[in-house]
């Protein structure tokens, strides 16, 4: 049975409904990340938010990017973050005091920023196409053309960047090697 063009009763198109759903999940998830008290739950909510954003990519016709989002972000970065949370969660850390004393001014400024963005970005004036429904799916072809065309250099350099980050990250996060300052201290601790 074909679905009706719009949602029954309220007359919203499926695309709009999907956008509102995914956007709502993303916003709610993000709010959960920044407001929630339990940091492990924050990490899990981050994964939810990133998932919703991947859904929006699919709506925008960028399925390939959604895949990358799931692989890199949810699969790697978020897991890394969860690991770091476990590693640094000492017993002494007070779980309740999650916020700065300046949380209220921070909220006001963020609200002001949100208002500025909403007014200026939502105000139109972009040379944008309007689609009926959602934008058509972008083939991997177009993305590949861009990535191996004008952005080839940036793409190659991004790999250098990752290499640099991994080398430095390993150095910083590793325990001192024998002979380095702090090594004996580390021995004692163990």
């Amino acid at each position: 049975m074909p679905l009706p063009d719009t949602l029954p009763l309220i007359g919203i198109t499926w695309a709009d409904a999907l956008f509102m759903l995914l956007g709502g999940v993303a916003v709610a998830g993000a709010l959960g990340v920044v407001l929630g008290r339990d940091i492990i739950r924050n990490g899990l909510l981050l994964i939810l938010t990133l998932g919703a954003i991947a859904g929006i990519y699919v709506m925008l016709g960028a399925a390939i990017l959604a895949g990358a989002q799931v692989l890199v972000y949810i699969g790697a970065i978020s897991v890394l973050i969860l690991f770091a949370i476990m590693l640094t969660q000492s017993k002494a850390a007070p779980a309740k005091l999650n916020f700065q004393t300046q949380a209220v001014p921070a909220a006001l400024i963020s609200a002001l920023l949100a208002l500025i963005f909403a007014v200026t970005l939502g105000g139109g004036g972009w040379n944008a196409t309007v689609f009926d429904g959602t934008p058509p799916p972008e083939g991997t072809r177009g993305a590949a053309d861009a990535l191996f065309g004008p952005y080839l250099l940036a793409f190659e350099v991004a790999s250098v960047l990752l290499l640099a980050a991994v080398i430095g990250g390993i150095y910083l996060a590793s325990l001192p090697r024998a002979g380095q300052i702090g090594a004996e201290e580390e021995e004692e601790r163990r």
Binding site: Q100, Q102, L113, I116, T120
Partner: protein, 657 residues
């Protein structure tokens, strides 16, 4: 042309005017620079022989500079002088700065003083500094200073002048603070540097103004532009006054004079070189060099004249009560520099430079002489602990007496000629108030200088028992004798006949533009006319000052002063007059004079000095307040960033719409 001019011209080899300086001209800069570098590199190893390279370098520089300065002063280099392009310093787009040197009569006048006194100070230092562990360092600094000063005088681009200006400040900082192990010299050096820096800000801003108007800092181009009327009105006044700020700092004029008396903490040769003959003259030179710019603004000229004459009387009144021999000379220098600025301000350009020359020689002599005195009494600088030194150190005494007569303005010694021309022109250009105050200062100068001589050399000895005064070695007395010669003769040589001497012929073309802009014309000088009367007035005032000074300080204690005046009274005045004379003396010089001098001293220490220190304190406390925003917490910082972002977005939305 006078006979003397003809004789000198015959003696000088270069007859033809040359538009291009000879190829050896850059050596004027390279010799002292080389001397500095060499001494800095190997001086320590040379030990007591460290003076050889710097001394030879400066003597050679002196010889070279004479070969340029003499023809320049005689007008043999042509009215515009001669130049030599060295290299282009910065060249890009609209901004080009070339490094060139330029010699004309004005440069020649400065070269004459700077290199002569410079060379003699080097020689003097061989003896004076011989026991100092930093012997080699001292000579290295001296050469560095000479290099900077010569660069300042020779440069044909104001940016280079500014660079040299700062370098001079730096090397004087090193020299004043030479005895850095003691606390006071260090503080004095810092104060000199920072006070100068205040003036330099004005100078820099003035240069920026010139760049904005003319797009270049090439001196001939700028001056030609001013002469063509491209800079007038308020803009000219502002720029001229900003540049004058630099001159005020470097030449220690009120209110930036505070550094100079303190700078006496440096070794005495340094005082002679920097604080009498060279660096303090840089401000006078700058104003004279930029004379068309000042002539373009009557307001600026007035300010220059007022500050100059105020400094002259203000410093003279302080010199009355000083007991430190070098400080008296320091205030005297302030006063004489004030004279020069007053002259510049009234448009008496040539007499100002003339006085710069004569003052350079006799003040250099006086400072070196005071160094010889201090040397003789084992480092004592307080005059009340001297006295009766005339017989013990006769060469020093004789030469200092010559210097004193010269500065007092008694004919025919050097100071008379230049001082008289300043006063005469001030009067003739209609600045009666400058003339009047100047006259008072002339009398006061004679008085306090003979007071210095009296307290130091005459009367009974008040020197500590264990000190045995002795004459200084020849390396110190020779420079004194060599400086005494120009102190006697340079005035006649350059200034006679009055208003028609070498100095006038040489310098007049330089200030031609400025004089034309001011509408100054020089009538023929008449001995039996207004000029003669003015000359008589200044001689009379100087004589009165001298007479009072000699009379009061021929001896050293109060009883004897009264006794002598009592014995001599029938010779001068009647009985009523005696009462009048005694009491007036008492009233003016002891009570009132003391009060005024003390008040001036207090004003200087508390208010002016306090203001200078206060600026420093204010900026520091401002900094401490600003430091509070650094809380050490990331989120406070981030909140600052977010606030900045929001503010900027709103600002752009407003500006852009």
């Amino acid at each position: 042309m006078s006979l003397i001019t003809a004789l000198i011209r015959a003696a000088s080899e270069s007859g033809e005017p040359a538009a291009v300086l000879p190829e050896y001209a850059p050596l004027l800069l390279l010799l002292p620079l080389g001397g500095f570098l060499l001494t800095a590199a190997i001086g320590r190893r040379l030990g007591k022989l460290a003076h050889i390279v710097p001394l030879l370098a400066i003597v050679a520089t002196w010889a070279l500079s004479m070969s340029l300065a003499v023809p320049a002063l005689l007008g043999d280099l042509g009215e515009a002088g001669a130049s030599r392009e060295l290299f282009t310093w910065i060249a890009s787009g609209d901004l080009t700065f070339s490094m060139g040197i330029h010699v004309d009569a004005l440069t020649g006048a400065l070269l004459l003083v700077v290199t002569t006194v410079g060379a003699l100070v080097h020689l003097y230092s061989v003896g004076y500094m011989s026991h100092d562990p930093g012997y080699w360092r001292f000579f290295a600094y001296l050469n560095l200073f000479m290099f900077s000063m010569l660069l300042l005088v020779l440069a044909s681009n104001l940016l280079v002048v500014f660079a040299a200006w700062e370098l001079v400040g730096l090397s004087s900082y090193l020299l004043i603070g030479f005895w850095y192990t003691k606390r006071e010299p260090g503080l004095a050096a810092k104060k000199a540097f920072i006070t100068n820096r205040v003036g330099d800000v004005g100078f820099a801003l003035g240069l920026m103004g010139l760049v904005a108007v003319f797009g270049t800092l090439d001196i001939p181009t700028v001056l030609a532009g001013v002469a063509a009327g491209e800079l007038t009105g308020t803009a000219a006044t502002v720029i001229a006054l900003l540049i004058f700020c630099g001159a005020v700092g470097k030449s220690a004029q009120f209110p930036l004079h505070v550094w100079l008396p303190d700078a006496m903490e440096g070794p005495t040769p340094v005082s002679a070189l920097i604080h009498a003959a060279t660096m303090v003259n840089a401000g006078v030179y700058l104003v004279a060099r930029m004379s068309p710019l000042f002539a373009a603004s009557p307001e600026a000229m007035l300010v220059v004249a007022a500050i100059g004459i105020f400094t002259a009387i203000f410093a003279a009144s302080i010199a009355f009560t000083q007991t430190d021999i070098k400080r008296v000379l320091a205030f005297s220098t302030l006063s004489q520099l004030g004279y020069m600025f007053a002259a510049l301000g009234v448009g008496a350009w040539v007499p100002a430079i003339f006085h710069l020359i004569t003052h350079g020689f006799f003040k250099g002599l006086l400072f070196l002489g005071s160094g010889s005195v201090i040397h003789a009494v084992d480092g004592e600088q307080e005059m009340p602990k001297m006295g009766g030194l005339a017989k013990k150190i006769p060469i020093t005494y004789a030469t200092m007496l010559i210097g004193t007569i010269a500065i007092a303005g008694l004919p025919p010694l050097a100071g008379f000629w230049s001082k008289d021309e300043i006063l005469g022109e001030a009067f003739k250009f209609g600045y009666t108030w400058v003339w009047l105050v100047g006259l008072v200062v002339a009398g006061a100068t004679a008085f306090y200088m003979f007071r210095l001589m009296g307290l130091t050399f005459w009367g009974k000895s008040r020197i500590r028992e264990d000190v045995h005064p002795h004459e200084s070695p020849w390396t110190m007395t020779l420079p004194l004798i060599l400086l005494a010669i120009p102190s006697i003769g340079i005035g006649v040589l350059l200034g006679f006949p009055v208003a028609d001497g070498i100095i006038v012929h040489g310098l007049e073309p330089i200030f031609h533009t400025a004089n034309e802009m001011l509408g100054h014309e020089h009538a023929k000088w008449q001995l039996f006319g207004i000029d003669g009367i003015l000359m008589l007035a200044s001689v009379t005032v100087a004589s009165i000052g001298t007479a009072i000074g000699v009379r009061l300080f021929r001896s050293d204690n109060g009883d004897r002063i009264r006794a002598i005046t009592a014995r001599l009274q029938p010779l001068y005045v009647g009985s009523k007059g005696r009462w009048f004379f005694d009491d007036l003396n008492d009233l003016i010089f002891v009570r009132l004079g003391g009060r005024v001098a003390h008040a001036a001293w207090w004003f200087d220490r508390r208010i002016v000095d306090g203001a200078v220190n206060g600026v420093g304190a204010l900026t520091s406390s401002g900094g401490r307040g600003l430091r509070q925003i650094q809380t050490g917490r990331v989120q406070n910082y981030a909140l600052g960033i977010a606030l900045g972002l929001a503010a900027m977005a709103i600002a752009y939305l407003v500006i852009g719409s």
